[in-house]
């Protein structure tokens, strides 16, 4: 049984039903804010304790790859917003095109992220037994730069996991939109997955300056 936009008994109007679904999505996103918030808290604490070490470690990640990824991800948010608009005005073909564009940009982001992770792997900057920062091993510097890279991988990794889940949701949206299921009367999945996608974009908007742009001058 597929929902196609019928009014459920507990609602008075379609608009009320739509707003309730949106409210529920926002409540979920506020739990996501606190989930990522814990990592931002840990980051803030450690950066304020080891500002110089964080700046040294941050300089070893490739700025232009992060900057390109920021452009790609904001671009994907734009195509997602356009997908929501297409579904609202009933342009079914355009909806599928914008959803595919969003998925492609999301995959480009993940690909570039993979290139960056590979760079860190080659440089022995992945925290663990093979870790080395700089020419000569130094216990204190190695320990504290590992703190930065642990946070770097935890935060970008959790962000990437959200992107992968988002890509899965987009695949489903594309499948359903090709069937012509979304109409101006019923497009709640497009709107709510859109909210999720924009949220993941916002997390990156903060990750980019905090991880890539420490002391670049």
């Amino acid at each position: 049984m597929h929902r196609t936009g019928e009014l459920f008994g507990q609602y008075k109007t379609m608009e009320q039903q739509r707003e309730t679904a949106s409210l529920g999505m926002w409540v979920f996103l506020s739990t996501e804010v606190l989930f990522f918030g814990g990592m931002f808290m840990t980051y803030t604490l450690n950066r304020s304790t080891y500002p110089d070490i964080f700046s040294e470690a941050s300089k070893t990640i490739t700025l232009w790859l992060g900057a390109v990824n920021t452009v790609v991800l904001i671009g994907s948010s734009f195509t997602m917003a356009m997908a929501v608009w297409s579904s609202q005005v009933g342009k079914k073909k355009l909806l599928t095109i914008f959803l595919i564009a969003t998925l492609v940009l999301g995959c480009v982001f993940l690909g570039i992220k993979g290139v960056e992770y590979h760079e860190k792997y080659v440089e022995h900057h992945i925290p663990g037994w093979n870790y080395q920062f700089g020419e000569h091993p130094d216990t204190a510097i190695d320990a504290h730069t590992q703190l930065f890279f642990s946070l770097y991988f935890a935060m970008t990794g959790m962000h990437a996991l959200h992107m992968i889940i988002g890509a899965g949701l987009l695949l489903w949206l594309i499948k359903e939109s090709m069937r012509g299921r979304f109409t101006p009367e019923y497009n709640t999945p497009v709107e709510n997955i859109g909210l999720y996608w924009h949220f993941v974009d916002i997390v990156w908007i903060f990750l980019f300056p905090l991880l890539y742009l420490i002391d670049r001058h």
Partner: protein
């Protein structure tokens, strides 16, 4: 509850594109600002500029891409509450942490 009967607001592609363009300009600005040593004028100015631009970008995404500006008040309350609790966590923890220097 009269607001439940309000027309569903559709944001035009023109607004989406304008926001996208502003977000692109902000991204270029934040990279350029990071490459200038602003800390020589005021200690910590680089991070203040970087985070101000990030907050501006995030606000534009919430207000326009996520329709926060056009949402009913109870949805806006959830948005503000999540920012508030995040601020409580960051500010209260840090205010404790930075005032422990005597130990």
């Amino acid at each position: 509850m009269s607001e439940d009967h309000s027309e569903h607001h559709i944001v035009s592609p023109k607004i989406y594109f304008t926001i996208f363009a502003v977000l692109m300009i902000c991204t270029i600005l934040t990279v350029m600002a990071a490459e200038i040593d602003l800390n020589q004028y005021f200690h910590g100015l680089n991070i203040i500029v970087a985070l101000t631009i990030a907050v501006l970008k995030a606000s534009l995404v919430v207000l326009f891409f996520m329709h926060g500006k056009y949402s009913p008040k109870r949805t806006q309350m959830v948005i503000i509450a999540s920012i508030f609790w995040l601020a409580v966590m960051l500010l209260m923890t840090m205010s404790d942490y930075v005032t422990r220097l005597w130990s």
